[in-house]
Symmetry: C2
Subunit: 442 residues, 2 copies
Amino acid sequence: MSTADLGLPVDVPSTALFTDRYELTMLQAALRSGAAHRHSVFETFTRRLPAGRRYGVVAGTGRVLDAVENFRFDGPVLDFLSNESVVDDTTLRWLADYRFTGDIWGYPEGEVYFPGSPILRVEGSFAEAVMLETVVLSILNHDSAIAAAASRMAVAAGDRPLMEMGARRTHELAAVAASRAAYVGGFRSSSNLAAGFRYGLPTIGTSAHAFTLVHDSERDAFTAQVESLGSGTTLLVDTYDVATAVRTAVEVAGPELGSVRIDSGDLLLLAHRVRQQLDDLGATRTRIVVTSDLDEYAIASLAAAPVDAYGVGTSLVVGSGHPTCSMVYKLVARGASDAPDAPLVPVAKKALGGKTSVGGRKWAARRLDREGVAEAEVIGSGPVPPDLVDRQLLVPLIRAGEVLAREPLDTARTRHITARAALPLSATQLSQGEPVLPVEML
Amino acid sequence: MSTADLGLPVDVPSTALFTDRYELTMLQAALRSGAAHRHSVFETFTRRLPAGRRYGVVAGTGRVLDAVENFRFDGPVLDFLSNESVVDDTTLRWLADYRFTGDIWGYPEGEVYFPGSPILRVEGSFAEAVMLETVVLSILNHDSAIAAAASRMAVAAGDRPLMEMGARRTHELAAVAASRAAYVGGFRSSSNLAAGFRYGLPTIGTSAHAFTLVHDSERDAFTAQVESLGSGTTLLVDTYDVATAVRTAVEVAGPELGSVRIDSGDLLLLAHRVRQQLDDLGATRTRIVVTSDLDEYAIASLAAAPVDAYGVGTSLVVGSGHPTCSMVYKLVARGASDAPDAPLVPVAKKALGGKTSVGGRKWAARRLDREGVAEAEVIGSGPVPPDLVDRQLLVPLIRAGEVLAREPLDTARTRHITARAALPLSATQLSQGEPVLPVEML
């Protein structure tokens, strides 16, 4: 079966081409100079959180492992690189054998991070490590942005479930990754069938205005839905008049009606009115689901309203105003010479316009106070202070090319809840502020 | 070869699962009620442009055609839907035979649009048309957002080439679509190899700070690059001291050095200094490429600087502040009864909280003044006024399920330049303002 037969809207046969051209031309030049074989340490970090955010959320790590494992230059890819004269024949031969054989350490998925946190460390020859830059950053920058927004929404929603419904607002495959990242950040389910298929996420759905409009009356539509999907279904009640729709809904489904959805208007006011009406009709266990351009602030503003679940679309998949993180992938140390056992020397670009990097292979740890509350993100490249040895954040993800750290998505989701709970209380304020932990560079 | 073998980070075997679950449960209920077979007209439009934007840019149409053609429910997908009890067996059998057999009309790719412009009209049975909602919106909302940002940057850049370099800032496959949309909006090339592979876009690249840092000196790095890639290459000159680097670059490559890239600092100041230095060194034809968080405003501010090309990353792939459009897919007309020849009746949700829709199958035309400048977007559902017949915007894209309107990407790119040029002059002001054309609903 050719890739085109799959019907995917993009038929790139591996992850190897999710790569900026310069990675491969640098490889070619470094193969020639010999620097390609120098042992190199790259670190992924951000210099700043999005304005006002208190913490970042690592997401996409599991997808990074998949991408590294599938970073292969096969026939069609090599033919393309050759036909386009991207690199020379020596380099093509090198690429044909490419497998990442180095080590990757990182913050585990769901962990929180701060400016400078080395959330992923890739170590190997310059040649094998530099090439992973683009795809590693694509995944972490996207997925972490979504997870950070999801986490804020989860804080605002408290115990009420959040449903991800943003597929239609972002690229069709970004949407699948967004569902996954939202789950890590605290969402409960997704409308996106591909996310269910690919990641086993629970999928949910209600119905659209079109379903009501295609029938001759709202009653016909509700009857069709209840007959087909059962009285536990969710009926959409704002196509015409909400009060009429709620009355019709309970008449059609009975008081065991599962839920009603409100998708427009003043949600606070409508939720109260609809709750009262449902209770008056005896549908006291019918739940109220609200949707309609919700973000963490709108969710918080509904905390006192009788709402049972939130459906969130646009603001989630665009990271609630911050659709990308500013993570970079920087060479921080390399062999002092081309000899394979050469000692590592730290390297860094000179600061110009705020683009500072700190050289050296780093460890990171989170220091807790006596009550067990995090008080600082401590990052260093020397020996780890004894009191921080057990609080280190980086874990081995890939060793000598072997993936070590696959885990169920629920593990990452639970880890995020735990990590966030250990932050100072102000972490979960929605208002703009500084990162909730200071970063100490040792 | 299984989809997993492809190494794609997502292995959804067709476009059919890029779909919200409710599309399929609505289908099930409509199959039972009979409404599934009613002839239906869905229109895609936006109620508003992003705040301050003067026009929108249609992009992704070619990808929509691919997605519709590959919207198929094959074995693994049907098994998933069955195992998860998404829909019943009757519905699964219907899905197994699914092929879109209706008609799609739309604004051609690259055309500009305004609030209410019916940029895509999908017509067929309710069942076959409703299911395309999610994937159609994903593609158009994403790609049009990128193209709109690209178009503004292209206006700001004038005749200077724009290079797309945003892969690392967005989802790895969204990045490929973003490269494509940027090209439609006026970019010249992309760093993204997958975009070259998939869409034949010209790919370009320079080198990274890591390449300089992995060598023992900047001179070693420049020598390696020039020996491997030729003196026409682009040398990155801001790793340590820019003036030193420029001198070294010309010493190593000679005055025929292709380009230097500046990626940090005060680009306006540095461009002037570097130009002067290059000229003094006899490298009068060496070009200056600037990168570093450029957006349309930064590009405009460099108009008077001696810059030869711009590389744009983050701000492009996040739509320069507007990463999605607010396009919706609404049922606007349907058969008056279940009879196949029933006349169409317009339908619309009642306005609540600004979510207005206008019922009826619509045409759209752009009225020009005597000088040939566009003066209004005219939209109606009745007969087309004679003077607007030749100015209609919707073209047939799919007829009876057959794709009619494949075209090279350059056609869309050229169309956009032509369409934008016919707008009033204020269209290309970067400052915030109202949509440049009024919309008249007839």
